[in-house]
């Protein structure tokens, strides 16, 4: 059953880092890949994920290490110098830590539709391979999840990974509790392998990318006694746009009756109000949505009695064009 698979490097482990947010299946993808490698491909493998509080929309990193059968894997440190980085949500690319440590000859696979290449990718090494696939678009069409598509793309990019056996492991993972997903996942997996595009001339840097190490300024040496935080920071500086998964509410001011129901069901205070114009019937009027904070739950759309808020597919740049800032003096 086990064939001899030769990994690309004989002197070190083959390391993959999946960068994602909760809800897109990165943890399951890493697990499936490592299981396939160990149980079907005769390799040694290790997988674990790192995330803060377990929430949909919060950052998740999943690490996979693969090695030959005769070499035990004794490390469970995060993957700092990956051979491959798979990015599940393109907005994560605006954070330099997402690509940190990528090897000079490494591969980046990221989820985005066709179109202009993001400027941040110029920071990649010149020699790195850059592959793009519309994982969300394919997943929505096939009623699967982005992880199935990206696993297919990963196997396509690295032929030493036996795509048939990874697909088998993917199907086994879900056949127990979600048998209805197996066929959809298979379609998504195959399309992921077939429909990725390799982009040329993207990276302009030389050598491996530097490793990012978090260096907090506050610690036992610098903090006030007792752990009191005298000037706490405020969450308004967080940009939650990356936690949306494909849709956002669009506001049509003509239809709005300014009843306030949307505001009473939004847990995130995304709706921006202002005093009504002089002589208007309404003391307060809704003027727009601050998409910096919108997570796309669509409760406002559900609650609006006048259909002034409608659900639309999010395309790149749409949120920024429509956004009305909640704190215009503070945060643009």
């Amino acid at each position: 059953m086990s064939q001899t698979i030769s990994l690309p490097h004989t002197d070190r482990f083959f390391e993959i880092r999946l960068e994602s947010i909760g809800g897109l299946g990165a943890h399951a993808a890493g697990q499936v890949l490592a299981s396939a490698a160990v149980l079907k491909m005769g390799l040694n493998g290790a997988h674990f994920s790192s995330y803060g509080s377990e929430k949909k929309g919060s950052p998740v990193r999943s690490f996979v290490r693969l090695g030959p059968a005769e070499r035990p894997i004794r490390t469970s440190a995060p993957v700092a110098t990956p051979d491959a980085i798979v990015v599940f949500h393109a907005a994560l690319l605006s954070n330099p830590a997402t690509l940190a440590g990528l090897r000079n000859d490494g591969t980046l696979i990221y989820n985005a539709p066709r179109g202009r290449v993001r400027e941040e990718l110029a920071a990649l090494p010149r020699a790195a391979r850059v592959i793009r696939v519309d994982a969300l678009g394919i997943a929505v069409k096939e009623q699967s999840r982005p992880n199935a598509v990206l696993l297919g793309a990963l196997c396509g990019a690295f032929p030493f990974l036996d795509a048939g056996q990874v697909l088998e492991a993917l199907s086994e993972e879900f056949s127990g509790r979600h048998p209805e997903a197996v066929a959809a996942n298979e379609c998504a997996f195959r399309r992921g392998g077939a429909e990725c595009e390799t982009l040329a001339g993207v990276g302009r840097a030389e050598g491996d990318l530097p490793i990012a190490r978090a260096e907090p300024e506050w610690g036992y040496a610098t903090q006030p006694v007792g752990g009191i935080v005298l000037e706490p920071g405020n969450m308004v500086w967080n940009d939650l746009s990356i936690s949306r998964t494909g849709s956002l509410p669009v506001f049509n001011r003509e239809r709005c009756i300014h009843c306030g129901l949307c505001d009473l069901v939004c847990p995130d205070y995304c709706l921006v109000w202002d005093d009504g114009e002089k002589g208007s019937r309404f003391e307060r009027e809704l003027i727009g949505v601050d998409y910096r904070y919108c997570k796309g739950c669509m409760r406002c759309v559900e609650s609006c009695p006048a259909s002034a808020l409608t659900k639309k597919t999010e395309t790149p740049g749409l949120a920024n064009r429509l956004r009305v800032p909640l704190f215009p003096d503070l945060i643009e």
């Binding site: 509080s53 929309g57 969450m235 967080n238 306030g260 995130d268 739950c297 669509m298």
Partner: protein, 325 residues
């Protein structure tokens, strides 16, 4: 020299139009999209106003809201262990009372609100909550009920309904309904055993104006008060996050949740349906109940019917009580 301690009085509101404009719970927190508890937190913060201190026992409304050095609250807030929300609040209240009485601090006693989850109220947090109610501190204890220990990945808690699928109560061949135990009743626990408590209320995110008024009323009452808020959790209960309000409303329409106030021995009910809808309508929206058979649903219906009757809510039950076995 001792000074009489003055407390605030917050007026009730009649319409959505009168809901206060000011927000004391700002965006940017990392709760899930459509989070029910985050919504109730926003409404409670609006109701309480600026002269407030929140105490946050560990749970979704601590972990998802705060990261180190950074919170979404614009009023002072302190973390408590999941076990001791009541204890921390007692200490804060006693300290403020002493400072005010001795004239070392001016102004009114701040609203002191514990924002605890169902686990932090009636399970792991029960002891400190009950002790605080017994000692009679002027604190509002809010239980936001998402019917599980949600923050750690949805484990069952004493308010998880019979038949719910959680990671601790997974349905299988040996235990087909998943959860076999019926839930505790937090407001009855408080009402039944604590003589110092003068006001207890239950509310839901489905009716925000009512929620705001109940919180204000509880804050106006001197002494310990308890408000139990139904806050559906889209991830834990497995429903589309856009439907949170619909689920909360159906809970009330089927009797799974009852909105009432208890003040000095008298009950007042709100949003009593003229005719209750069958529990099945509420269950079918949530995948955490998808595994239940008709026998299990009948058992749950019987439990709901008995609970509604016991409250003294006059009602015509939709299905005859079956022979449960």
């Amino acid at each position: 020299m001792t000074v009489a301690v003055r407390t605030q009085t917050l007026p009730p509101i009649k319409l959505i139009r009168n809901v206060p404009k000011e927000e004391y719970y700002v965006p940017g927190h990392r709760t899930c999209a459509g989070c029910g508890p985050a919504l109730q937190y926003k409404l409670v913060a609006k109701a309480a106003g600026p002269n407030t201190i929140f105490i946050g026992p560990t749970g979704c409304m601590y972990v998802a809201n705060a990261s180190y050095l950074c919170t979404p609250y614009t009023v002072p807030w302190m973390h408590a262990q999941i076990t001791n929300g009541g204890a921390i609040a007692s200490g804060i209240e006693a300290a403020y009372k002493v400072l005010l009485r001795k004239g070392k601090r001016e102004g009114e006693l701040p609203n002191i609100i514990v924002m605890a989850g169902d686990g932090g109220t009636v399970d792991i947090g029960l002891q400190a909550m009950s002790a605080m109610m017994y000692r009679g501190h002027d604190v509002l204890f809010i239980c936001y009920d998402n019917e599980a220990y949600a923050n750690t990945g949805i484990q069952s808690s004493p308010t998880t309904p019979y038949g719910a699928n959680t990671t601790f109560t997974p349905p299988g061949s040996a235990i087909p309904e998943g959860k076999t135990l019926y839930p505790k009743d937090p407001p009855q626990l408080v009402i039944g055993g604590h003589p110092a408590v003068k006001y207890v209320a239950t509310a839901s995110v489905a009716y925000p104006v009512d929620l705001i008024n109940k919180v204000r009323k509880a804050l106006n009452v001197q002494g310990p008060t308890f408000v139990h808020i139904h806050a559906p959790c889209p991830k834990g209960w497995k429903f589309d996050e856009a439907k949170t309000i619909e689920v909360a409303r159906l809970a009330i329409d089927t009797g799974m949740w009852n909105c009432y106030e208890w003040e000095n021995g008298e009950y007042r009910y709100q949003f009593k349906p003229k005719k209750y809808k069958p529990v099945r309508e509420y269950l079918k929206l949530q995948a955490r109940f998808a595994h239940l058979s008709d026998v299990h649903i009948a058992k749950l219906q019987a439990f709901v019917d008995a609970k509604v009757k016991a409250r003294g809510i006059p009602v015509e039950t939709p299905v005859p009580t079956p022979q449960a076995h």
